[in-house]
Symmetry: C2
Subunit: 232 residues, 2 copies
């Protein structure tokens, strides 16, 4: 028997599908625009507090000024992360999604508008620091060339079971705060197995912004991807 | 000048407002229904991996069978958390939001339907373990009597700046994984100041599921709230 709840659910799912299909179209527009300007776009996603901003600070310190980078930072509120990243000298555009009804992700049309504030002709790498959330950012294509996910050790090795889409859409997974392995019960091989079932081709690295472990390998990957995109 | 983007944004905000006002109405219905059955409802929210399930396991072990408890667990995917909580003997209803378009929160109508699967007449405490996310769960009232937030030390003391609504709607904040203070740079007094600006009346506790610290105080708070709700 179809209930009122089932009807509501079907209606909700249709609205969600329409929103996502409009978003996918706009993401393709973004991708074409960035490609025309020769900009490589990396979309970085994670839970709140997994170390996105700290990792990006370290990254910008190492690759700039050789690689001209700019950042779009998404948060529901505040310019806290933008302030931290501006220290590196990279142009930073802060998007506060409370202007968009408190969105928990950066939709493609939000990126389109934020990109208007960046001198794309003078930019080789555009980093999108998405809103801290493992659900919706995975559903909303931004128009990026590559997606990176940061998972910190304290969050636990069960996350691929609970947020499978996030692990499926990413090209690289950084296991961050690896220096805290001693005090958390985190099974790296089990995590890797769970991730590879969803996404066999993903690259998995370990890192720590505190000790610096893994940061070289991460920036080497990023340099390679930028170089590779230029040759295409 | 009003742009296409501004129009889209206004339309989006209107849709969000309509969804939230329908949700608020349904949450009130839930609240009346639970009150009529004498069920106290606690909604627990946090980031992914902050320790919701572990804390609830410890809680159920201590308060059952004296207090008859049931749990509604929200996740995008899997029955992982429900399996962990079922061990305590409490009836557990798992909601997988991928059936609702991959929602990143538990809306009031989802709680309404999940509650149909619980014997409310035989339940004194209903715990809602919300989807791991600091954004949308704060916006969607479930019909709970009290809201609890768990913030783990590794997530950082800047979270109230970035997710103000979450800290505003909660009655109690549990600072979890306090045993990891030694290796993370977390300023508890600064965190407390940031939280109290948003929510002067909130109760803030520290806890660790690993060492057991703070769990007694947390369950004492819960017992008091349940007792108090009975007297009303």
């Amino acid at each position: 028997m179809e209930t009122v709840n089932d009807k509501r659910r079907m209606r909700e799912i249709k609205v969600v599908e329409r929103v996502l299909s409009v978003n996918a179209r706009m993401a393709e527009q973004n991708r074409r625009r960035f490609a025309e300007k020769g900009v490589f776009v990396l979309n970085v996603m994670s839970s709140p507090g997994s170390g996105k901003t700290a990792t990006l600070q370290k990254t910008l310190e190492r690759i700039m000024p050789e690689i001209k980078a700019a950042v779009i930072v998404g948060d529901v509120s505040t310019t806290h992360d933008a302030d931290r990243l501006s220290v590196t000298g990279a142009p930073v555009v802060q998007v506060n999604t409370d202007a968009f009804g408190g969105d928990c992700h950066l939709a493609a049309h939000v990126i389109e508008k934020a990109a208007d504030e960046i001198d794309l002709a003078a930019t080789r790498l555009l980093i999108i620091e998405n809103v801290g959330n493992l659900v919706c950012p995975a559903e909303f294509d931004t128009g990026s060339n590559k997606n990176a996910m940061i998972l910190s050790i304290p969050e636990g090795d069960d996350k691929p079971l609970k947020y499978p889409l996030m692990f499926s859409v990413c090209d690289i997974l950084v296991l961050n705060k690896i220096d805290s392995m001693g005090i958390f019960d985190f099974d790296v091989p089990a995590l890797e197995r769970r991730v590879r079932v969803l996404n066999p081709g993903i690259l998995i690295l370990t890192a720590s912004c505190k000790t610096g472990e893994g940061i070289e390998r991460w920036t080497a990957w990023l340099r390679d991807e930028i170089r590779h995109s230029r040759q295409q």
